[in-house]
């Protein structure tokens, strides 16, 4: 079967520095794929290339939604990428702090709705209807994510773990095919992490594909169907969690080499 996301030869140069070096990666429909690697390996750069914040130097980013044409995502603006069905969260939380929880999620519906200025002024039936649907859908997402009771709170007043979850809720509101999570468990306590584990599995079971960057190895190993390992902008290994755990290249990248062997 054609993978949902197929990336070939992705390269990103910043001046003379090659942050990503001919990276190949693919995500199958309905799977949880993890991208791991030491700090500075280029994981977040990869996410930024994928979501249109950076324009990759070369390579192909191909998205094939099930039963539809393949489209190329290179060089599209971030909002167009989101329209194609890729939604992301950020490593350092980027919510809209002075908007309510509900509004944060409603923003996610923006690219799936149509109301224009005149619609907003005259509030015709179509606009009212659309607005109702946005609220209803956003609430149902909040319910699923477990933030329903806090919908009137400002996003900035939420506890840290809840803010992370809200970011996921906001991304879900864009109706994505592929959810990109950039270190979703960073700074969470063990209990919050295990809740996150359940949440991500539940999202996968709803039929979404997930690509996540994560440092919490316990979470990665228990969640992922497939793992890619990066170091210095290159892919050094891929496979299921078990094979990655025993891969000498990966151990070398994380723990360093024994001087005697070199």
């Amino acid at each position: 079967m054609e993978p949902l996301l197929n990336i070939t030869g992705l390269t990103m140069d910043f001046g003379g520095i090659r942050a990503l070096d001919h990276l190949d990666l693919s995500v199958q429909q309905g799977k949880i794929v993890a991208l791991i690697g030491p700090n500075g390996a280029g994981k977040t750069t990869f996410f930024n290339c994928l979501t249109g914040i950076y324009k990759p130097t070369s390579g192909d980013l191909l998205l094939t939604p099930p039963g539809r044409e393949t489209s190329r995502l290179n060089g599209l603006k971030p909002n167009r990428v989101t329209q194609h069905g890729l939604a992301r969260t950020f490593q350092n939380i980027r919510l809209f702090p002075n908007m309510t929880v509900l509004e944060n999620v409603m923003i996610g519906r923006h690219c799936r709705t149509r109301a224009k200025i005149l619609g907003a002024i005259f509030r015709n039936r179509k606009t009212v209807q659309e607005e109702k649907e946005i609220v209803a859908l956003s609430l149902s997402i909040l319910k699923k994510i477990g933030l329903y009771d806090m919908h009137d709170e400002f996003a900035k007043n939420l506890p840290y773990g809840a803010q992370r979850r809200l970011e996921i809720a906001r991304a879900l509101a864009t109706d994505p095919l592929l959810l990109l999570l950039d270190e979703p468990a960073a700074g969470m306590n063990p209990q919050e992490t295990s809740e996150l584990d359940e949440l991500i599995t539940a999202i996968r079971d709803d039929g979404l594909s997930i690509l996540l960057i994560e440092h919490d190895m316990k979470l990665v190993m228990s969640l992922s169907d497939h793992i890619f390992v990066m170091d210095y902008g290159k892919k050094i290994a891929e496979g299921d969690p078990k094979s990655i755990r025993n891969n000498p290249e990966v151990i070398k990248a994380y723990l360093g080499e024994d001087i005697d062997d070199a």
Partner: protein
């Protein structure tokens, strides 16, 4: 409530103010007779006033603190701030609105033409403030050249009337549209800039428009301006000066209501949400599928649209336009209205416009100290209420608890 330490600090504060105001209020030089008058009594007043002000603030703060403690202990219930209550509780805002509405309706009949004229100006600034509020308050784009769009509106009425004889009602939408299209035109190259950079460029743009109007004589008649602009007509009736000002008053009232209606609806719509999100975090906003450029352009164009329409009204009111009416100071005052009132808050902007425009008119006796007071008010505001007179309240949706 007041400790010895407070009094000590109060004395220090008054000493500081005496020092600050000394050259301005105590020394008076008469260069003709070559004498210096030392007005020591002024120093005394300043010291006394600042000391009392300081103690007043201390007392207020300590009372707030005790109240806060008692709320925490559960002795008294927390009461929402009056600004929130005005907007939220029907028992407060319905009578409030009725009184304000009635007052606005009868205003020109109880007060003189002069008063009405001042009120028309204040109302025009309300509309300008609400227009700029879309750009600065809601979408978070710091625009220091807003007056350029105001000028475009005013000159489009003056010129279209002079050359083609177009009437007020015809030009009102045209002026708005011209300003809006200029907003879009300016927007395209400029909107990739953020914050301070955007502010500088818009500031430059405002000056460019003013300089063009001042120097392109064939087009705008230069600094001498354009006179004999007709006042708005009422079905071809002939109106006396008093009548036409009353008519203009109601016209501007209608304009204010129209603006409030539209701005309110825009803020609570899909587009309004996108503006707020853009102000909060641009990158996250794009990642959520919002087209940054288009959203910014709509904010810019809509803000300019209102400035253009008020410009047309301004030209009709004064029957004369020249570039001197569109200086940077004008932009600064409109910006002050928005910041003082509270970013994104409609009621706040209205209140601030009334205060900032009416106060100088009614306090003509103190006109020497106008800028001094103006600065002091702004500084005090930023220290004690940085969110503005009436902070913006985000809309909540009626949703059942589960």
């Amino acid at each position: 409530m007041i400790s010895l330490k407070d009094i000590q600090k109060g004395l220090l504060v008054s000493l500081w103010f005496v020092f600050l105001t000394f050259p301005l209020l105590v020394i008076k030089v008469n260069p003709i007779e070559r004498v210096i008058t030392w007005r020591w009594y002024n120093m005394l007043w300043i010291a006394l006033a600042s000391f009392c002000c300081y103690l007043g603030v201390r007392v207020y703060k300590s009372r707030q603190l005790t109240r806060h403690k008692r709320v925490k202990l559960g002795i008294v219930k927390e009461r929402a701030a009056w600004s929130v209550r005005i907007l939220k509780e029907p028992s407060v805002y319905i009578p409030f609105l009725l009184v304000v509405g009635l007052f606005a309706l009868v205003f020109p009949w109880i007060f003189s033409t002069y008063q009405t004229n001042i009120m028309v100006t204040a109302l025009m600034y309300i509309v300008l403030g609400l227009g700029l509020n879309i750009v600065v308050g809601v979408a978070g784009l710091l625009d220091l050249g807003y007056v350029a769009f105001y000028a475009v509106g005013a000159y489009s009425y003056a010129l279209l009337n002079m050359h083609f004889g177009l009437g007020f009602w015809m030009v009102l939408p045209i002026g708005g549209l011209l300003a809006a299209s200029l907003g879009i035109l300016l927007g395209f190259p400029v909107l990739r800039l953020r914050g301070d950079y955007l502010a500088i460029v818009t500031l430059g743009f405002g000056e460019i428009i003013r300089l063009i109007l001042e120097n392109w004589n064939d087009f705008s008649q230069g600094p001498s301006g354009i006179s004999n602009i007709p006042r708005p007509g009422l079905f071809g009736l002939h109106l006396s000066l008093d009548q036409s000002i009353t008519y203009l008053y109601y016209l501007v009232i209608a304009m204010v209501l129209f603006t409030i209606f539209v701005v309110n609806r825009l803020q609570n719509s899909r587009i309004g949400r996108a503006w707020f999100a853009l102000r909060e975090d641009e990158i996250a906003c794009q990642a959520m599928g919002i087209d940054k450029t288009r959203t910014k352009l709509t904010a810019f164009a809509l803000g300019a649209f209102w400035a253009g329409m008020v410009g047309v009204i301004f030209a009709a009111k004064t029957t004369f336009v020249n570039p001197a009416s569109f200086t940077f100071l004008e932009s600064a005052i409109i910006l002050c209205i928005v910041v003082l009132g509270g970013m994104g808050s409609i009621i706040g902007v209205i209140l601030a416009a009334l205060i900032l425009i009416l106060m100088p008119e009614y306090l003509r006796a103190f006109s020497d100290y106008r800028m001094l007071v103006f600065g002091a008010v702004l500084v005090t505001m930023m220290i004690f209420r940085p969110q503005g007179l009436i902070a913006n309240v985000r809309r909540t949706y009626n949703i059942p608890k589960v």
